[in-house]
C-alpha cells in the first residue's frame, strides 16, 4: 500500500531560500540552475560480477552489478534474450531508507531504469538468443543506492549502462539441450545511448539534478530521458505536485542538452561497443 511521505517542518523556510537563490540564478551548493554535479564513473571493480560500475554524482553514489545466466525466453518473444532491472535503496544510504524488500520508491527506480534501457533501444535482445524458444541469455542488472544525496535516478541509469558496456559476458553453447560455458567472453553491443536528467520545479522556475536539500522542497519533480538523436526516451513524474504546461518546452530543450553533456562525459570514461547502424 502506497503511503504519502511526510513533509519536513523546516521545508518552507528552505524552499523560500532555494527559490530566492534560484531567482538570482544561484543554488545552495554554488551551482547554476542548469549545472549537473561533478560525476565520476568507475567500472570493472568487482571480479565475481560479470559487469560492475560505481557512479557518483556529487555525493549520491550508486553501485550496479551485472550477472548473466541462461534461461528460457518469454513465450511471446521466443527469439529474444531477457534483461531485468532490480533496485534497492539500501538502509546504509540514508536515514529515510529502511531494511526490507524494495518499497515503492525502489520499484519505481528499477522500472524507470528498465524503461530507459528497454524503450531507449540500448540492447538488441535478438542477439542474446541461444536456441530459439528454448535457451536465451538472461541479464540481471541490480542497482544499489549506496549514498543518497538527492537524485538517484540519473546516476542509477549511468551506472547500469556503464556496467552493461564493460560487462564480460561468458559465452555459452547449448549441448544436448544443456547450456555450457565455452570459456570465451563477449561484450554487449549498444544500439543507442539514452540518459536521463532529473528536473525539479519550484514556482515557475526549474533546476536540474537536485541534491537532497533541494529535492526535499521541490514543488514537483520529473525524470526525463533523451537519446543521442535528441529523441525523448523516457518520462516519469515522480512526486506529487503540478508541472505548469508552459514550462515543458524549456524542460525538453534542457533535457536534450544535458543528456548530451552526460553522454560526452560517459564516452570519455567508458568504452562503448556500438552496434552497426541498420
Amino acid at each position: 500500500m502506497a503511503l504519502a511521505p511526510k513533509r519536513s517542518l523546516t521545508a518552507k523556510i528552505m524552499r523560500d531560500k532555494i527559490y530566492n537563490l534560484l531567482l538570482q540564478g544561484k543554488r545552495i551548493d554554488g551551482r547554476g540552475p542548469r549545472d549537473l554535479r561533478p560525476m565520476s564513473i568507475q567500472t570493472g571493480l568487482l571480479a565475481k560480477a560479470d559487469g560492475s560500475a560505481m557512479v557518483s554524482m556529487g555525493s549520491t553514489k550508486i553501485l550496479t552489478g551485472i550477472k548473466v545466466e541462461v534461461g528460457s525466453p518469454f513465450s511471446d518473444r521466443p527469439d529474444e534474450g531477457i534483461f531485468t532491472v532490480n533496485a534497492e535503496l539500501l538502509p546504509l544510504a540514508s536515514t529515510s531508507f529502511e531494511p526490507g524488500p524494495p518499497d515503492e520508491r525502489g520499484i519505481e527506480l528499477a522500472r524507470v531504469v528498465d524503461r530507459s534501457i528497454r524503450e531507449g533501444g540500448v540492447l538488441d535482445l535478438k542477439k542474446l538468443c541461444l536456441v530459439e524458444g528454448e535457451k536465451v541469455y538472461v541479464i540481471f542488472i541490480d542497482v544499489y543506492v549506496l549514498d543518497y544525496d538527492g537524485n538517484y535516478f540519473d546516476p542509477a541509469l549511468i551506472s547500469a549502462l556503464a556496467a552493461l558496456a564493460t560487462a564480460r559476458i561468458p559465452r555459452y553453447e547449448v549441448v544436448d539441450g544443456k547450456p555450457q560455458k565455452t570459456g570465451e567472453y563477449f561484450a554487449l553491443e549498444f544500439s543507442s545511448l539514452p540518459f536521463t536528467v532529473m528536473i525539479g520545479v519550484i514556482g515557475e522556475k526549474f533546476l536540474i539534478d537536485p541534491q537532497i536539500e533541494e529535492e526535499k522542497v521541490l514543488d514537483v519533480s520529473l525524470i526525463m530521458g533523451a537519446d543521442e538523436k535528441g529523441n525523448i526516451t523516457c518520462v516519469q513524474k515522480n512526486s506529487p505536485g503540478q508541472v505548469p504546461l508552459d514550462l515543458m518546452d524549456e524542460i525538453v530543450e534542457t533535457v536534450v542538452e544535458k543528456t548530451g553533456e552526460i553522454r560526452r562525459r560517459f564516452l570519455q570514461e567508458v568504452p562503448v561497443k556500438l552496434a552497426e547502424q541498420k
Binding site: 502506497a2 504519502a4 520508491r105 519505481e108 522500472r111 525523448i232 526516451t233 515522480n238 503540478q242 504546461l245
Partner: protein
C-alpha cells in the same frame, strides 16, 4: 492478440475505426457502490474500472497519522481476469509503481490539510483492461473522491496519447499500446493548466512530445466535461432534505 498489418489505414482510420484525435466511447457513473464513502465506474471502450474512496477516517496503523494533514493511500489493482493471460493474485511491481504515480496525482488536488490525523483511502480495481487503465483509473478515482465529498482544488482528468505507425493518436487501445512506438499517459488539472501525472514509454521527438501534450490536453478537456456532467447528474437528482 495478433499484430494487425497496419494500425492506421489509408483513410487515416485506426484499428477500431477512430480518427487520430478521437476518444473511445466513454461511460461514467457515480456512486455505484453502497458501502464506500464515494465510488465511480468509468469505461473507455473496452477498459472498465471501478474506483472507491473511504474516509476521511482514522488512520490505521495510528503511528502513520500526520499531525497537519490526512494521509492519502492509493491502491491501483487489476483483477486476475482483466487481461488475456491470467494475472497472478497480489500486487505486481507495475501495480506498485502505478499506485504511487496515481496517488501523487490525486494528492496534488486534494485538500489534505482539512483532515489532520485522518486517512483517505482510494481503491482502484481494473475489471477489464484494454489500454489506458491507469488513466481511466485516475479519472474514476477523482470522481470517487468528489462523490465522497472530499474537498478538491480540481478534478483530475487523464488520457494516454501515443505514436502508432509514426502518427500521434489519442486514447490508445490495447493493440495500439502493444504494437505502437510510444505510449504517454497524461493527467491534468485543467483549472491550473498543469500536468499532475506524466509518463512516457517509448520514443518521441521533442516536436512529437510537444504535439502529444497538446493532443492530450484536447482529450482531457472533453473528459473533464464528461466528469462534471456525471457529477451533476448524480447530485441534481438527490431529493431535497426534509425539514
Amino acid at each position: 492478440m495478433e499484430k494487425p498489418e497496419r494500425l492506421i489505414d489509408e483513410n487515416g482510420r485506426r484499428v477500431d475505426g477512430r480518427r487520430f484525435d478521437e476518444l473511445r466511447p466513454i461511460k461514467m457513473e457515480i456512486g455505484i457502490l453502497d458501502k464506500s464513502d464515494g465510488s465511480a465506474y468509468v469505461e473507455f471502450g473496452g477498459t472498465k474500472v471501478i474506483a472507491a474512496v473511504f474516509g476521511p477516517r482514522e488512520a490505521h496503523p495510528r503511528h502513520l497519522a500526520l499531525p497537519d494533514r490526512a494521509i492519502l493511500n492509493c491502491r491501483y489493482h487489476m483483477t486476475s481476469f482483466s487481461v488475456e493471460e491470467r494475472k497472478p493474485l497480489g500486487m505486481t511491481r507495475r501495480e506498485v509503481e502505478l499506485s504511487k504515480v496515481i496517488r501523487e496525482a490525486l494528492e496534488t488536488v486534494t485538500f489534505l490539510e482539512e483532515f489532520p490525523r485522518a486517512s483517505i483511502d482510494v481503491y482502484i480495481e481494473v475489471i477489464q483492461a484494454d489500454g489506458g487503465t491507469r488513466t481511466t483509473g485516475l479519472t474514476a478515482a477523482s470522481l470517487a473522491l468528489a462523490d465522497a465529498g472530499i474537498p478538491m482544488a480540481d478534478l483530475v482528468a487523464a488520457v494516454a496519447v501515443g505514436k502508432v505507425d509514426g502518427q500521434l493518436v489519442l486514447d490508445l487501445c490495447d493493440v495500439e499500446d502493444k504494437y505502437g512506438e510510444a505510449d504517454m499517459p497524461v493527467a491534468m488539472a485543467p483549472r491550473f493548466n498543469s500536468i499532475v501525472l506524466l509518463q512516457l514509454n517509448g520514443r518521441m521527438t521533442p516536436e512529437e512530445f510537444r504535439k502529444g501534450l497538446a493532443l492530450a490536453q484536447k482529450g482531457v478537456s472533453e473528459i473533464y466535461r464528461l466528469q462534471r456532467e456525471a457529477l451533476k447528474k448524480k447530485f441534481s437528482s438527490v431529493p431535497p432534505m426534509e425539514s
